[in-house]
């Protein structure tokens, strides 16, 4: 009897889930599977016209990637970018969230808007402005460092400075979003905790370390994971600011994938790059998830 009900329920459940499953299957699973098959071929401009010119190459694309100087450059650049931009973005967004939450109410909404503005501004428009800020002869940045006696730098044209310059731009562009998430989490911390801590004589620093940080931990880990994943997919900043230059110093994995896939139509090779990136992000996310669970268990 109950079995009949259960199977009816299962059928109803399946019927309800079917549209979503179909969509996910059609627009996610299928393309990903197709892309994986594509990565096992040398699909390129020649093969588009004539499928007879397509060769199944097995894992050759992946082997070629390992020998590809530019891929390693892109991987190194992306890693440096992730390692620099992720902690910077977290620190800055947490600091501003704390400051804005603590400030007077009216000023808070003003600053919140100001800090969030870069997130909603088109990167192309932002890039035009930042190119001028970084300009070697007329840039504001060089003017400022000139005031303290430093010699002007060619920020985007110097292979050592270009990637850090993009880190600063990307952090500035994106920290507002994390800030808003942190602000919401901060407001969710019950005020009673702070009141109790004050009664116990805890100072601001102790309150931050003992109440704010532990209460923020789930949010912090979520924001860290999202920022990490987002930073691995670095594309738009180098695409509009430097086109991967100077001397490939800002070539990111996604930019390289784009060039291979949509500039040169080496779709097989580009798919292989996409899967390597997918694997990297997966590993990083799993590490992050493991970290979350580990900390949870300790608590």
């Amino acid at each position: 009897m109950s079995g009949g009900v259960e199977s009816r329920q299962a059928r109803a459940g399946a019927a309800l889930a079917a549209p979503a499953l179909l969509l996910i299957g059609g627009f996610f699973v299928l393309p990903v599977a197709a892309a994986f098959l594509l990565s096992l071929t040398d699909f390129d401009i020649y093969a588009i016209a004539d499928r007879d010119r397509l060769r199944v190459v097995g894992l050759d694309n992946y082997a070629a990637l390992l020998r590809d100087r530019l891929f390693w450059t892109a991987l190194a650049n992306t890693t440096v970018f992730v390692a620099l931009a992720t902690p910077l973005s977290l620190a800055l967004s947490l600091a501003t969230a704390l400051a804005v939450t603590a400030a007077a109410v009216r000023a808070a909404s003003l600053f919140r808007t100001l800090f969030f503005l870069p997130v909603v501004t088109s990167l192309v428009a932002v890039a035009v402005v930042w190119r001028y800020l970084y300009h070697p002869r007329f840039g504001l940045l060089n003017y400022l460092i000139g005031l303290v006696g430093l010699s002007p730098q060619d920020w985007l044209g110097d292979a050592r400075l270009a990637l850090p310059a993009l880190v600063v731009l990307a952090v500035w562009k994106n920290f507002g979003f994390n800030m808003v998430v942190f602000m919401a989490a901060l407001q969710a911390i019950p005020a009673t905790l702070y009141e109790a801590a004050s009664v116990d004589g805890a100072g601001a620093r102790t309150q931050f370390a003992r109440i704010t940080l532990p209460m923020l931990r789930p949010t912090l880990l979520f924001v860290a994971a999202m920022t990490l994943i987002g930073n691995f997919q670095l594309f738009a900043e180098p695409y509009v600011m430097t086109r991967g230059g100077p001397n490939d110093a800002t070539l990111s994995i996604v930019l390289y994938m784009y060039e291979q896939g949509f500039r040169w139509w080496n779709l097989g090779y580009a798919s292989a790059i996409a899967f390597v990136l997918f694997f990297l992000v997966l590993v990083a996310s799993l590490l992050g998830a493991g970290l979350t669970r580990g900390k949870g268990a300790v608590q």
Binding site: P136, G157, G245, P246
Partner: protein
Amino acid sequence: MTRLRRAVHTLLAAALLAAAGCAPPNEQELRLWAMGREGELVQRLLPEFERAHPGVRVRVQQLPWSAAHEKLLTAFVGGSMPDVFQVGTTWIPELVALGALAPLDAHLNADDAADIFPGILEASRVDGRLWAMPWYVDTRLLFYRADLLRAAGWAEPPQDWDGWRLALQGVRAAAGPGRYALLLPLSEWQPPVILAFQRGAPLLRGADEWGDFQAPAFRQAFMFYLSFFRDGLAPTRAEGQLANLYQDFADGFFSALITGPWNLSEMAARLPAGLQDAWATAPMPGGSGGEPGLSIAGGASLAVHADSPHQAAAWQLVEYLAAPQRQLEFYRLSGDLPARRAAWTAGRLADDPRVAAFWRQLGYVRTPPRVPEGERIATAINRAAEAAVRGDATPEAALARLDSEVDAILAKRRWLLARQRAETGP
């Protein structure tokens, strides 16, 4: 009820009329894709074509240059190619490999073909056939500040490499610190390739199957290119870092650059009035016996999609737009230099000394290797040049790496050629 019925009748009649209106039995619609400003200006030439060809309508779609290449390939994959489209000459081999182009040979008679600048017509030739009708041409030559050159003691622009170097050194010395003589944007692959053409370097060897960049001729040109930077004659700054090319040219930040005909109108519009007599153009230095040095053949052509159902009308449109008088008209609209020499003589274009330099240079142009991988090879050349200029690789190492990169890029081409040979072989 009657009101409803009447309304239905009216609607039906309207629908029938509309259907008749948009597709009269013998009306053809030609789709034309053209890029950038040309896409806008070409529309002014079309009413006359439509008058002369009743029953043919031309619908123009404008594409930005930066997206055009991708868009054409996507359209090809998606089966939505236009009937007629503008192509950059360097894209022709790629589109031929795709089988996207209808051959031009039957639509260009020998006299008309002879009237086109030979170096430019060559750019349309792939596998022994012509594929796209040259429409307007461009090549690169020297734009320079005649006043600054004169101040450095040169009444005439130099003609060979030694003179060029001396003149630039003179200009550089007169300009003072913080300034340069020649602008060579590191984002451009053309300057080293132009110099290599002048030394006769073929760039590729075999049936365009392997890189040939360590050959003495290319190496010599490459070293000459690098010497501009090493000697402080050219700034090592990426193009994006120039605040404003015209401003910097006017300020004397640099006094010469290698660029194309689009800058004729730009310079006239953007340089201050006081400098309008100070700038001039000259064919590339580097030839022998007073002849110009070679430069690159470029420009845009008109192509017909191989599968277009309107072949006859499409070719009529191409022939109409490519006729000398229309090219001249188009030059007056856009400043694009005509591909037909008859248009130059009819319009006395070479009477303007700045344009005359292009007339002369166009007799001395070569096309980059006509293989579908051409643009990738160009990017690889650019990469090698940039690495060597910035000192990240010795010139020898940069060229060795360039050869191996280009060999890898051409791997598929070698496989296809080998297969072809095996099929047609003994």
